[in-house]
């Protein structure tokens, strides 16, 4: 599978973790951020070699979630579900859920990244969009 946004996330790495990784960065001040950027650190303002690319494992905890039933832009058709996720490495990001469900998820639920096929490339390969889904190991799912 190919990554729909290769600048933002990988397909699952062959070695190590089975989940996609997010292409974040780390500043020499210790601040970990996503996505990678070189404009300047959002905490201390440092630039240049202070900002280094860092792969962040797509695992974290659910901060909140919501099912979207109305959406003005025509790029996505509701209903779909979105979530705020705090990665274990620190950054908080907003993402789509892999599956639409009417069920509310408990805040704090363990979640992990996955790729959902949304299109096919010219060569017929599946193109995957990054979404999150409850982790199989989480025992506290609502």
């Amino acid at each position: 599978m190919e990554s729909r946004k290769p600048a933002l996330y990988t397909v699952p790495l062959e070695s190590g973790s089975s989940v996609p990784h997010l292409k974040g960065g780390r500043c020499s001040c210790g601040y970990v951020f996503f996505p990678m950027q070189t404009f300047g650190c959002e905490r201390c303002g440092a630039t240049g070699s202070s900002l280094q690319a860092q792969l962040l494992e797509g695992r974290g905890c659910l901060v909140s979630s919501a099912r979207v039933l109305m959406h003005a832009a025509d790029n996505r058709k509701p209903p779909f579900a979105v979530a705020t996720v705090k990665l274990d490495s620190g950054p908080v990001l907003r993402t789509l859920f892999a599956d639409y469900t009417e069920e509310s998820l408990r805040v704090g639920t363990r979640v992990q990244a996955c790729l959902v096929e949304v299109a096919r490339s010219d060569s017929g390969d599946p193109i995957g969009e990054l979404r999150f889904t409850p982790s199989p190991e989480d025992t506290n799912k609502a």
Partner: protein
């Protein structure tokens, strides 16, 4: 040493005016703004040439709408500046007008906000043009952001979403008593919950309608009040002004900014009689009254159900109807809040009057990253 507004010479709101907030219409934005400005001038009892500088708050209108508006008041040669700060455009314009008068550079300044929405579809934002992509920000409209916060708030405090929706019952009831409100119809909890679902547990009647409209306020020094013979029933003093951005977000940003302004004005949260805040979505009002220190964290719903935030309660919150019922034309909204607080502190808010109101607070956030808070007091 820097100074706060309170260290400078006193500045007063002396005139307020609106064009009713309403859905997008054929009415020219010039008509909207002139109505608000002329009403504010009449309220202050001064002619246009006494205005020494004009801050024009805009949001979705194209570049520089001020000239085609102000030219119809008669060319007086004054400074004209446009302010764009997303939802906080009007609040930013008001703050700058106050600081200018308080500093002594001018004696009389106008802050006017006007807006026309763009019609269907999301509004373009510079944040989407940075070259930094996002995973799914295209999927998260403002109401979805607040649906996410609503989920977090409800789970954190064990509050049913039906109770969060009660903010809408209160604010629609207040809007029904405000001739300048876009929505002037009282709604039952059942009507609000039964409306069209938007995201999470939010329904359309729990979300602000973004329409068109205008609001204007005139601020003045004591010298000018005496010189121009402004009636003693008009002036309301601006005792604090604070603005912060993006070190912290959402309720924490409101808490930080409110603490600064209350310290500056020498006030405690429990002294505030009337509040206008950024209730674009029902859950926001609960989060912000807690963040402001009007009640303990997690207690806003209990107090809402007890009537503490009603007109006549411990502190009237969003007596204008707030963004949910008064509406949110974006450019004017922060200025309209100042107008409502001014009427309340004058005791001139009619059937929306909070009894004995002496201290008011206006709060606005914009782009989720800037926050403005002002305190006003009747001498």
């Amino acid at each position: 040493m820097t100074k706060t507004l309170k260290d400078l010479r006193p500045v007063y709101v002396v005139g307020v005016g609106w064009h009713r907030y309403q859905p997008l219409s054929e009415t020219s934005y010039v008509t909207l703004a002139l109505k608000a400005i002329r009403d504010a001038l009449a309220d202050a009892g001064i002619p246009w040439p006494e205005i020494e500088s004009a801050y024009v708050a805009k949001a979705l209108l194209p570049m520089a709408p001020g000239r085609p508006i102000l030219r119809h008041l008669g060319a007086s040669g004054i400074e004209l500046i446009h302010v764009e700060n997303a939802s906080a455009s009007g609040s930013a314009a008001f703050r700058k007008a106050c600081i200018e008068v308080a500093s002594g550079v001018t004696d009389v300044a106008l802050a006017v906000g006007v807006n026309k929405p763009r019609g269907a579809g999301p509004n373009p934002r510079a944040e989407r043009m940075t070259g930094i992509d996002s995973i799914a920000d295209d999927a998260i409209a403002p109401f979805t952001h607040f649906a996410l916060l609503g989920d977090q708030y409800a789970q954190r405090w064990g509050v049913p979403h039906e109770d969060i929706a009660r903010v809408g019952v209160k604010n629609h009831a207040n809007g029904a008593r405000n001739p300048n409100a876009q929505r002037q119809q009282a709604r039952t909890l059942e009507e609000i919950l039964g409306g069209r679902p938007v995201a999470g547990k939010l329904t359309t009647l729990q979300c602000t309608p973004v329409g068109e409209g205008a609001a204007a306020v005139i601020v003045m020094s004591e010298d000018a009040i005496r010189r121009l013979g402004v009636g003693s029933d008009k002036p309301v003093r601006v005792t604090g002004s604070a603005a912060r951005s993006q070190r912290v977000y959402d309720a924490m940003l409101t808490a930080e900014t409110t603490q600064i302004v209350l310290k500056e004005a020498g006030l405690r949260p429990d002294q505030i009689d009337v509040v206008e805040l950024h209730d674009a979505f029902t859950v926001e009002e609960l989060e912000y009254v807690e963040a402001m220190g009007l009640c303990a964290p997690g207690q806003a719903v209990h107090l809402l159900k007890d009537g503490a935030w009603d007109i006549g309660g411990k502190c009237a919150v969003s007596p204008s109807g707030g963004l949910i019922a008064m509406g949110h034309p974006i450019g004017p909204t922060g200025i309209g809040q100042i107008g409502e607080i001014t009427l309340q502190l004058r005791g001139a808010a009619g059937e929306r009057q909070q009894p004995g109101a002496r201290i008011g607070l206006a709060h606005m956030v914009g782009i989720g990253a800037v926050c403005y808070v002002h305190t006003l007091q009747r001498d």
